[in-house]
């Protein structure tokens, strides 16, 4: 398997705090890669660097386009998105005045009706709109949320909001999905449903980098795991290797 994303020696400092201190990792194309570590270990900071929210103080982020690797650090978040990288947020950032359906429909890139002139002529975009709506229905049905399609975000439970954040990301075709704790606050059965769906998409060739604290679920689905601790890579390997690694256990328990 060839690499899709390469993070090379990335460092990000906030004053004296070394949020990331020389992290290198590789995400191969297709499948699920886990990113774990105790609170404050730099997982979300790494997501922010990859997606263009932070400019790293050192190092580079490379993303493969056809056969070449291009640097994506220094691009704006919307430009990173256009390269084919979609992220979700740890604390969901849904559009609160929009309905569930509208939240999903806003995502896909290249919608014809987003241009001011085409928006005036419904015929030019209504067919595409119907197709997007069907895709949204399919996703909502899978996670048993179709009945909330026309609800406002404020009427949803915390778990549904968390799920919707991930579903919204899946609405748009991308090469790499960065999911930040997709199952926090979600019940066990639903969390497993989400991961098995993501796993299937991974087998079909999509790539996921997932931050997760619920290791008992995560480890059943991921192909490879990176462990961050104090801004540095502590360990990496297959799930079974990681769970038995003494350094990881120590970092988590904090002895």
């Amino acid at each position: 398997m060839s690499a899709l994303l390469e993070v090379r020696d990335v460092a990000k400092y906030f004053g004296g705090v070394k949020a990331l201190d020389g992290v290198s990792l590789t995400v191969p194309e297709g499948g699920l890669v886990g990113l774990i570590g105790p609170n404050g270990s730099g997982k979300t900071t790494l997501f922010n660097v990859i997606t263009g929210f932070y400019v790293p103080d050192r190092g580079s982020v490379l993303f493969r386009e056809s056969s070449d690797f291009v640097r994506i650090n220094g691009l704006n978040p919307n430009e990173v998105f256009k390269k084919g990288i979609v992220r979700t947020f740890q604390i969901p950032r849904l559009f609160r005045s929009l309905t569930v359906l509208e939240n999903l429909l806003v995502t896909p890139i290249g919608q014809r009706g987003e241009g001011p002139l085409r928006a005036l002529f419904r015929g030019s975009w209504s067919e595409q709109e119907r197709e997007l709506a069907k895709r949204a229905v399919e996703l909502l049905k899978r996670f048993d949320m179709l009945q909330y399609a026309n609800s406002k975000i404020s009427e949803l439970s915390a778990a549904h909001i968390k799920m919707l954040e991930t579903i919204r990301g899946l609405m748009t075709p991308a090469k790499l999905y960065l999911l930040d704790e997709p199952t926090a606050g979600v019940d066990y059965a639903m969390a497993r449903e989400l991961f098995s769906y993501v796993k299937r998409l991974g087998n079909e060739g999509l790539t996921f980098l997932v931050i997760e604290h619920r290791l008992e679920i995560l480890m059943d689905y991921v192909d490879y795991v990176y462990v961050l601790h104090n801004g540095k890579l502590l360990a990496e390997g297959k799930p079974q290797e990681i769970t038995s690694e003494p350094k990881v256990i120590e970092a988590y328990i904090g002895v």
Partner: protein
């Protein structure tokens, strides 16, 4: 109420309503739907009015062989000449109207785009105050710029239907033009709001960061909306100039902008029918006061001053009692709603 001209009142109210409706509909698109704090509506309104006044007065004089360097339109002789020559050729007057509308839309829209594109990256308060101060700068500039009449402004502007001798018919024809343009504005804004673009605008309003993460080019989207909104504000300015047949800088004080804000706050943020309702209510009160004031004779406080107190009070009351306004924002009407409705029906069977 002896001698109260009901039809005259209605015509003047509806004409004023139409002009303000164009402003409130587009401000609602900019501020209600897209969340841009546009405190500079009067700027683009003023640009439109001055474009049409300048273009029409100068062209009419030049086409009639008057040397405008000798007899400019703001000069007393120019004003007299405009009164004599201005309303003879129906085709010419209508052509100037069309030309003014198109030019005003383009100029006001372009200035809206260029002015906002660089500043939209900073916070909403900065956008509001930049536009507010730009409006004031223009007003002060116009007060001292001789070719457009400085503080006196331009008068005796030839109007689109000035060639109609019968006063009432002329007023009604003008009302027809205004209403036609209100309908056009409503159609355009309604379509934009109920489209993928409208959805993106609401998303940007709700959470700019998340929208950026979903690949939306936030500054460009906002600037485009300001192009459209400012262009139509320019059109409203043209209609005002022809309606009053004169323009002067003090017609475009910031209070005008806040009057339009009061309309959309009262009618409901993000609801287009609300904008029409808000514009209708506030212009009705405004017209009613101008009819009532002369009948009161000498009063301790002129109702003209009370007008602004009332507008301010209205904003405070609406925000306290029902911040969403009279009509709340509705769902985005696209074919996606039909798809969902069908699915929900099939599911419940």
């Amino acid at each position: 109420m002896i001698g109260f001209d009901v039809v005259g009142f209605m015509v003047s109210w509806l004409t004023l309503f139409g002009i303000y409706a164009i402003l409130s509909l587009t401000l609602n698109l900019e501020s209600g739907t897209a969340g841009i704090t546009n405190f500079g509506k009067a700027l683009f309104y003023g640009i439109g009015a001055y474009v049409s006044a300048t273009l029409t007065t100068y062209s009419v004089l030049v086409l009639n062989g008057v040397d405008v360097s000798e007899t400019p339109p703001y000069d007393i002789r120019g004003i007299i000449l405009l009164g004599e020559l201005g309303n003879k050729n129906s085709l010419l007057n209508i052509s100037f109207t069309v030309l003014s509308l198109v030019t005003a839309f383009a100029v006001a829209g372009l200035i809206g785009y260029l002015l906002t594109y660089p500043i939209l990256r900073v916070g909403p308060a900065f956008v509001g105050f930049t536009l507010l101060s730009a409006g004031e700068l223009l007003r002060i500039f116009l007060q001292h710029y001789e070719p457009v009449g400085a503080s006196k402004g331009l008068m005796a502007i030839p109007t689109p239907f000035g060639w109609i001798a019968e006063g009432r018919v002329r007023e009604l024809a003008y009302l027809g033009l205004v209403m036609g343009l209100v309908a056009l504005t409503y159609l355009v804004v309604h379509r934009l709001v109920n489209s993928p673009l409208g959805r993106t605008l609401r998303a940007v309003r709700d959470d700019e960061i998340a929208a950026l993460c979903l690949g939306k080019h936030v500054p460009r989207t906002k600037a485009t909306v300001l192009f459209i909104g400012s262009g139509f504000a320019g059109v409203a300015g043209v209609l005002l100039a022809y309606y009053l047949t004169s323009v002067n800088p003090n017609m475009f004080v910031p209070l005008v902008t806040f009057n339009v804000w009061a309309m959309i706050i009262l009618g409901g943020f993000g609801n287009l029918r609300g904008s029409l309702l808000g514009a209708a209510i506030i212009t009705f009160v405004d017209r009613a006061l101008t009819f009532v004031t002369p009948r009161l004779g000498v009063a301790v406080i002129s109702p003209d001053y009370l007008r602004w107190v009332m507008v301010g009070l209205l904003i405070v009351v609406v925000l306290l009692v029902n911040p969403r306004g009279l009509l709340p924002e509705g769902p985005i009407k696209t074919p996606a709603l039909d798809v969902i409705a069908k699915e929900l029906r099939d599911g419940s069977k």
